[in-house]
Symmetry: C2
Subunit: 370 residues, 2 copies
DNA sequence: CTGAAAGCGCTTACAG
DNA sequence: CTGAAAGCGCTTACAG
């Protein structure tokens, strides 16, 4: 069931008028009130339709006319009303961000990036956090999309992996872009990270330091990033002639607690691993904790690599070697793909992934000499 | 100068139609298309004006009529189009969040809280990060507010401290609520934290552990929170018969680096302080770093208290004693005050502050015995 | 208590 | 290349 949406109102009765009204009432011919398309049309001595054509970049306007109208628009500081345009277009100039990712830094970074990509285009970003596991997720998001007649949405991981959701969006004619770690969709609907490749880099980094007993705390089953990071890590080890022994991998939940648990399990194996790759920084912090408990010095006795480069990672002691991905750039790309969607599928939007890279800090070193 | 806002368009020419059109075209009397006020009026056998009255809670509707119409609205799943309502009302149902706070956890928490408070009210949250120091801040925010005809905005610290900004909002008839640490405005426009009181608690906590050589890294001059936390800390010390020696206070910038610098300065004083209160967690992390460099064990040789309870604080070794404030609750309150604004200034909105509290972890202990 | 007309600021057919 | 009419889905005066 969708929770009923009550009607926002000047409460109680119409006696209360929007306080803004007064400010707009003045009808001085020159100033005050924001100019409308009618003002521009009158001043330019053309019909409002012609002004509209200029607004919408119609080719059917004489160059001279266009210039004349544009000049007046600039002079008057005219900006078309998105509400009115939206009503006529039967859609809004709003972009939704739909997410259920607990990493605040990631979410804020994506917001920044999307806003960057949207800048000057006349769109605004509206937020929609959600619960991926809710029974009513689809209906709930559908309500949001329809009510606001969203132009499009950006889907962050892991909720971006929900194909029923994207199918619903497609049916509703709502553009979308998924930020994901695998080829989940057409290139024009995808902003791709390189989890697999960079996880391989992490493996090679450890192998090249001389480690051979290398363990991993994987992400939770069901997350695409789990698979990508895990597969990539295996790739990397293979490329150095190593492999990931079954009892050197445990599942985690991307939480600190699961990192603690995972580390306890891994560090009790015989022989003990000399390096652990945690699939995110939170779990890496859990490994730090266990290392302390077991009096293992980092990196002397144990090397650790994380993933995400959260602000915390640089503050741990020693600072954590981890993976940084270009979050804001990916957000910007998501916005650009969304805006390009309308331009038509002309240029086959590239699936060029956004490379992440290893930030080598002080949590990794050669293994202790037996 | 405001960066010109280009017009978002179905690019190039009107030949391209919004892909959504097709889905709406069907005119089956029963289904498909979202019902409009006209559909409801027809089905209820009343004029659309009467439906509108129900929507707006007008008292001038016979109870029976109201019930009848409401029933039909429910049955049809009717939700009024915010765009159309907005156009007629000359305002939108959007709430802006304006912020320049670098703490991602804080920003996301506020977003969650505001969204919570807005739930079911038919408003959406649109983001507007900004640069407090920009020469064009006011014009830029004004453009945002006017273009979107925002119903109101939530201002986060520190940009909420800008009175020119709030004055502009007031002139424009845009409701606003400031989230702040001091009585910067009328209660109805303020969501108040208790920085001063909780900073006093921090001081007492240290004093009660037996510390007498207690130092502080203050926030950057110009931030209201700096003053509140500093004054509060002094209050707390006083209440225990201590005071804050001038050479036991240094300015910080709320950054890790400034925490490092501040700690180096403070820990070189003779006699050396046995406890440091850092005005935020980032700076506290800097103190940890310097303690390590100087081989001072935390909390044996040095006690540390932070402020914010960022996720990092619990991951430091040892976990940091710090201040937690009810971020989401404050966000919710901000949304509620905004919505209440329209209801009229009836109930004198309370200025009841939202108490923060000390989270005692392991970075504080009695001072070393001389 | 209820409704017909006009309007919010734009765009879509449809003409010319 | 340009415009007059009608409409997007609501609300505001103004009548009754």
């Amino acid at each position: 069931m969708m929770r009923p949406v009550s009607t926002p109102t000047p409460r109680e009765n119409q006696v209360i008028k929007p306080s803004r009204t007064s400010a707009l009432k003045s009808a001085e011919p020159g100033l005050k009130r924001r100019p409308t398309i009618n003002d521009i049309a009158r001043l330019a001595n053309v019909s409002k339709k012609t002004v509209s054509r200029v607004l919408n970049n119609s080719p059917f306007v004489r160059e001279e006319t266009r210039r004349h109208i544009s000049a007046i628009m600039n002079e008057m500081g005219y900006v078309p009303d998105p509400q009115a345009r939206g009503l006529a277009f039967r859609r809004s100039f709003l972009i939704g961000m739909i997410y259920d990712n607990p990493n605040a830094q990631f979410v804020v970074g994506m917001q920044q990036g999307v806003l960057d990509g949207l800048r000057g285009a006349g769109y605004e970003l509206v937020l929609h956090p959600c619960n991926r596991l809710s029974k009513t997720l689809i209906e709930e998001v559908m309500g949001f999309v329809e009510r606001q007649k969203l132009y499009g949405v950006v889907l962050l991981p892991p909720v971006c992996e929900n194909d029923r959701l994207t199918q619903m969006l497609e049916e509703r004619g709502c553009h979308y872009v998924r930020v994901a770690s695998a080829l989940l969709d057409a290139p024009s609907r995808l902003v791709l990270s390189t989890d697999r490749a960079v996880a391989a880099d992490a493996a090679r980094h450890l192998a090249d330091l001389g480690h051979t007993r290398i363990a991993m705390i994987a992400g939770p089953p069901g997350y695409r990033s789990r698979k990508e990071r895990r597969d990539g890590f295996v790739d990397g080890l293979r490329s150095r002639g190593l492999d990931l022994a079954p009892d050197y991998v445990v599942d985690g939940a991307y939480t600190y607690e699961s990192g603690v648990e995972g580390a306890r399990a891994l560090l009790s194996r015989k022989p003990r691993p000399t390096a652990i790759f945690a699939s995110n920084d939170e779990m890496a912090a859990g490994v730090y904790q266990v290392a302390r408990e077991m009096q293992l010095a980092i990196p002397r006795d144990l090397s650790i690599v994380g993933f995400d480069d959260t602000p915390m990672s640089a503050r741990l002691a020693p600072p954590l070697t981890t993976v940084r991905w270009p979050i804001a750039e990916m957000g910007r790309a998501a916005a650009e793909k969304l805006l390009a969607a309308e331009a038509g599928g002309d240029e086959p939007s590239s699936a060029r992934p956004f490379p992440a890279h290893l930030v080598e800090r002080e949590s990794t070193a050669p293994p202790p000499r037996a």
